[in-house]
């Protein structure tokens, strides 16, 4: 079986399975062989479970032999970010503090994947507790960008993005708190979707900042990402922020875009690198040619999104990460004479420096005397940012923007400078603050590295973003180019 199978779309791989051109066992084996070939360089995976993957693949083949039912991903290999619980499999969150932890339950998205017949082949690398923009903050090892291994894949879902770009899987799950699906998708030249807050259940996702976190699908083709979104979206009683919405996002991908109003925020274009601006202009030109109406919109408070995010996210993380104390699971410091010493030693030994930094910032922002000045202030600014989007969406249907101000940077370049690392999330964080859907797809190249296009939609308007992304991919074919590995 040719390794080229690995670069077919998920939709095409499923067609081959249905036509008996390949078995699920063969499809999983060819991907596992690809992992063996390239992951020594890319390092996208933290763990691979070959035995369990082959068992699931054989089961999928049996089900298909009996008719298959209507399982959307039957027999398809997928990867899952290592902050999403898969029962019985190691789940580290990229952290030493979860050493040895094996979740006794599945995340809701994992239940949905398994019910759809997907074969989970492994767990992908990430910045520790999803805090970071390069996957260099993984406590195990950094992941490398398949397009240039000297560069970062982005983060925090860097493993999930790199695995897809390197042909190790055609679909993966990531999580996005301030851009953690979209930014690595952008750096690795793949598609990544942050759905509307509440569309995908967060049950079993180890939380970072609960009011911002959303699980999102990643793939090389927008159509594939839409298929995975159809599988994971939907109301879940186990997540009280889950909303009663779902859809067949992978159906009716083609639409007439004439008259569709697309706005470009002037704040995202001012001072933008001209090469990256060219990518955005090209996308605008393609949509205009198809009849969409392009105009300028304004998000006047968006410059405050980064500082608001860097109060809100650390504040919520400091509360969420209080559970990691060595009492019930994961690492516990040895020889502590009393419980307080045990808590402190466990957390000092278990957490990496970026996580500790954010816990400290968050604890400070929530502490007595500073709550109003920092946390409450940031949540009020969040309202202004939300209102900016509401106003913009009275003038347009979709917002078109760059994903990041730069393409993938070199490993080590920003590791000691948290503020400069944070600024790479400039165009993505406001979408989380407002709870809106955001889709990123490969928008061409700048000096040989991929540069992604971001589309931001109205609340629950995933469909329009998918249709536009699909149209762009049909027109350009950028997503069909693959890194030389």
């Amino acid at each position: 079986m040719s390794p080229d199978v690995c670069y077919l779309s998920a939709v095409r791989q499923l067609e081959m399975l249905d036509r008996k051109e390949i078995s699920s066992r063969e499809l999983v084996l060819v991907h596992l062989a690809r992992v063996k070939k390239v992951d020594g360089v890319v390092k996208a995976f933290l763990s691979i479970d070959e035995e369990s993957a082959l068992k699931s693949a054989e089961k999928a083949d049996e089900i298909r032999a009996k008719g298959g039912g209507c399982k959307k991903l039957l027999g398809l290999p997928v990867a899952v970010k290592d902050n999403i619980c898969v029962k019985g499999h190691a789940c580290t969150c990229g952290s030493k503090i979860l050493e040895g932890f094996r979740p006794p339950y599945n995340a809701t998205v994992v239940e949905r994947l398994l019910n759809s017949g997907a074969v989970i082949i492994g767990k992908t690398n990430m910045d520790e507790f999803a805090m970071g923009s390069s996957t260099e903050h993984s406590c195990f090892f950094p992941t490398h960008n398949p397009w240039d291994p000297a560069r970062v894949p982005g983060g925090s879902s860097g493993g999930s993005a790199a695995a897809v770009a390197a042909g190790e899987v055609s679909l993966s799950l990531g999580s996005d708190t301030g851009g953690s699906v979209r930014q690595p998708a952008n750096y690795c030249g793949v598609a990544g979707f942050k759905p509307t807050y509440g569309l995908v259940s967060r049950y079993g996702l180890i939380p970072f900042a609960s009011s911002l976190d959303q699980i999102g699908p990643m793939g090389r083709e927008v159509a594939d990402v839409a298929l995975l979104l159809s599988v994971i979206a939907g109301k879940d009683d186990k997540d009280s922020t889950s909303i009663p919405a779902a859809g067949d996002y992978h159906k009716s991908l083609d639409r007439d875009v004439s008259g569709l109003r697309i706005g470009i925020p002037k704040e995202f274009i001012e001072g933008l690198d001209p090469e990256i601006k060219n990518r955005v202009d090209e996308a605008a030109g393609i949509f205009r040619k198809k009849g969409a109406v392009i105009s300028e919109v304004t998000l006047p408070h968006v410059e405050y999104a980064m500082p608001a995010y860097y109060v809100i996210a650390p504040a919520e993380c400091s509360s969420n990460l209080a559970r990691f104390d060595g009492a019930r699971y994961g690492h516990r410091a040895k020889d502590a004479s009393d419980v307080l010493t045990m808590f402190k030693k466990t957390r000092m030994e278990g957490f990496g420096s970026e996580v500790k930094r954010r816990i400290m910032i968050g604890t400070y922002a929530l502490s007595s005397g500073y709550f109003d000045a920092y946390y409450l202030k940031a949540q009020k600014v969040r309202t202004l940012i939300r209102q900016d989007f509401e106003k913009a969406f009275s003038e347009c249907d979709v917002i078109l923007s760059p994903t990041t101000p730069i393409t993938a940077f070199r490993l080590g370049e920003k590791i000691d400078d948290p503020l400069s690392m944070y600024l790479t999330d400039l165009y993505t964080v406001s979408v989380n603050l407002a709870g809106l859907p955001g889709l990123v797809f490969q928008g061409g190249f700048v000096n040989g590295m991929p540069a992604g296009i971001q589309l931001i939609g109205k609340h629950l308007d995933e469909k329009t973003l998918i249709q536009l992304g699909h149209l762009f991919q049909k027109e350009t074919g950028y997503h069909l180019q693959h890194p030389a590995l």
Partner: protein, 102 residues
């Protein structure tokens, strides 16, 4: 220019966060946190008088369900990851000897 945060404050915050910084770490954290706090101070430029805070973006309030028992994890499943176990309990170091455990 006055420092945004002092080493004493950082040590106090570390205690609240159940972290314990070594003296040389304390200086590093004080500098990095000071830089981040200076950056987020940009928020103070905005007048937010009369603006409601957005604590969450989902247009719903309390989510209720019937108070009925449902199957959950078994005791063994709950304890399978325990660093130390004693019967059906998580085993912990002594609490009462600690000065500040409350």
């Amino acid at each position: 220019m006055t420092k945004k945060i002092t080493e004493e404050q950082v040590a106090g915050v570390a205690h609240l966060a159940r972290l314990e910084l070594e003296p040389e770490e304390l200086a590093v954290y004080t500098e990095k946190l000071g830089g981040i706090l200076e950056y987020v101070d940009k928020l103070q430029e905005l007048d937010t008088e009369g603006i409601e805070a957005t604590f969450q973006v989902v247009p719903m309030s309390n989510v209720f369900r019937e108070d009925e028992s449902r199957p959950g994890l078994s005791v063994d499943e709950v304890l399978q990851n325990a660093p130390e176990r004693s019967g059906d309990y998580f085993k912990m170091p002594p609490i009462l000897e600690s000065e500040d455990a409350g």
